[in-house]
C-alpha cells in the first residue's frame, strides 16, 4: 500500500535528498547513448565549447533527479505519473565527481475537476552541487491518487 497520497502534499511541504555523486563514467555512458555531443563526451573537445570542460547532458541530470525522486518518494506514493514538465532551467554545468543534492517543495495542489479519484501537485525541484551552486531547477505537476479514491 502506498504511504503517500494527494492529500499529503500542500504548500509548506519540503524534502531534501542526496548527496548523489555523478561519475565521469556514467556521464559519458549516458551521453554516448542519448546525447553524443563532444561537450558531454570528451574532456579535450569539451574545453573548446561554451561549457569550458566536460559537463553532463542536461537530460542525464533530469534522469538522475527522476531516479532520486522515485527512490525517495514516488515508489511510496500513489503516483500516477506526470502529464508533463512546466519548465526546466539548466543553470550551471554538472561536472564529473559533483555531489548533487535535491530540494523539493510544493508550489500548489489541486484536486482534479473531471476525475474525483486524483489530484495534481505542482513540485519545484532544485539541484545544488557540492559547492552550493544551483545547477538545475524543474517545475512539474505530479498526478497522485486521493486517499479515499472515489469517495470524493
Amino acid at each position: 500500500m502506498p504511504k503517500f497520497y494527494f492529500e499529503d502534499f500542500s504548500p509548506g511541504w519540503t524534502a531534501e535528498y542526496g548527496p548523489r555523486r555523478v561519475t565521469r563514467e556514467e556521464m559519458i555512458g549516458f551521453a554516448a547513448q542519448y546525447d553524443p555531443q563532444p561537450m558531454h563526451l570528451d574532456e579535450e573537445a569539451a574545453r573548446k565549447t561554451m561549457l569550458g570542460g566536460l559537463g553532463a547532458s542536461g537530460w542525464h541530470t533530469c534522469a538522475i533527479l527522476m531516479k532520486m525522486i522515485a527512490d525517495n518518494l514516488l515508489l511510496d506514493a500513489a503516483s500516477m505519473g506526470a502529464p508533463g514538465i512546466d519548465e526546466v532551467k539548466w543553470l550551471k554545468p554538472v561536472r564529473p565527481g559533483d555531489e548533487l543534492t535535491v530540494r523539493g517543495s510544493v508550489l500548489s495542489a489541486r484536486a482534479s475537476q473531471s476525475k474525483p479519484d486524483r489530484g495534481f501537485v505542482s513540485f519545484l525541484w532544485e539541484i545544488h552541487n557540492g559547492s552550493g551552486e544551483r545547477v538545475m531547477t524543474l517545475i512539474c505537476p505530479q498526478m497522485l491518487l486521493r486517499r479515499h479514491a472515489g469517495v470524493a
Binding site: 542519448y34 553524443p36 542536461g58 537530460w59
Partner: protein
C-alpha cells in the same frame, strides 16, 4: 549546424523514427525511473496506463539522440560541400513539455523539430538563442509528446 543568422522560424527537421521494445523500456526504467508501470507488464496492466509504457524521460532522451544524429548528418553534408560548420552551444533549458499519450512497448515514434523563435543573446556576444518545438508522433498519427527546447547557436562572424 548553420549559423544562427541562417536559421529561419518555420524550418522543420524530420529526425527519424524509433521503435521502443519492452526490454529497452525496462532497462531505462531500472536505471532512471523505476515506477511499476515502466518496469513490469503485470503491474502496468493493473495501472491506469493499462500496459507497459516507456518513461517520459526515455521518450525524450531518444528525441535528443535523433536530434544530435540529424545535426551530425547535416554537418557532414556541409563539410562535404566545403561550407563552414557553426558551433552549437549548450541549452539553458526547456518549457511546456507534455507527455500526451503513453508510449507502449512496440510503438514506433516519429520525431521532428521545428524552429519556433530566435533571438540574439544579450549576455553572450557572437551567439544567438534558438527555440524549437519538438514533437513525437506514434504509428497511429497521435502526438505523444511535445516541448519547446532552446539552445545557443554561433552567429555568423561579423553579423552581430
Amino acid at each position: 549546424m548553420r549559423y544562427f543568422d541562417d536559421i529561419n522560424v518555420g524550418d522543420r527537421m524530420p529526425l527519424g523514427t524509433h521503435t521502443f521494445t519492452a526490454d529497452d523500456i525496462k532497462m531505462f526504467a531500472a536505471q532512471y525511473d523505476p515506477q511499476a508501470f515502466h518496469m513490469d507488464e503485470a503491474a502496468a496492466a493493473k495501472s491506469h496506463f493499462g500496459a507497459l509504457c516507456a518513461s517520459g524521460w526515455h521518450t525524450i532522451a531518444v528525441w535528443m539522440r535523433l536530434r544530435v544524429q540529424y545535426g551530425q548528418r547535416e554537418d557532414a553534408e556541409r563539410a562535404a560541400r566545403g561550407e563552414v560548420i557553426a558551433k552549437l552551444g549548450p541549452s539553458p533549458g526547456f518549457r511546456d513539455l507534455k507527455w500526451l499519450k503513453p508510449v507502449y512497448a512496440g510503438d514506433t515514434i516519429a520525431y521532428a523539430s521545428e524552429i519556433a523563435e530566435k533571438r540574439a543573446s544579450k549576455s553572450r556576444p557572437g551567439w544567438g538563442l534558438v527555440f524549437a518545438r519538438n514533437t513525437g508522433t506514434n504509428q497511429k498519427g497521435e502526438l505523444v509528446m511535445s516541448f519547446t527546447g532552446s539552445g545557443f547557436v554561433e552567429r555568423r562572424p561579423g553579423a552581430a
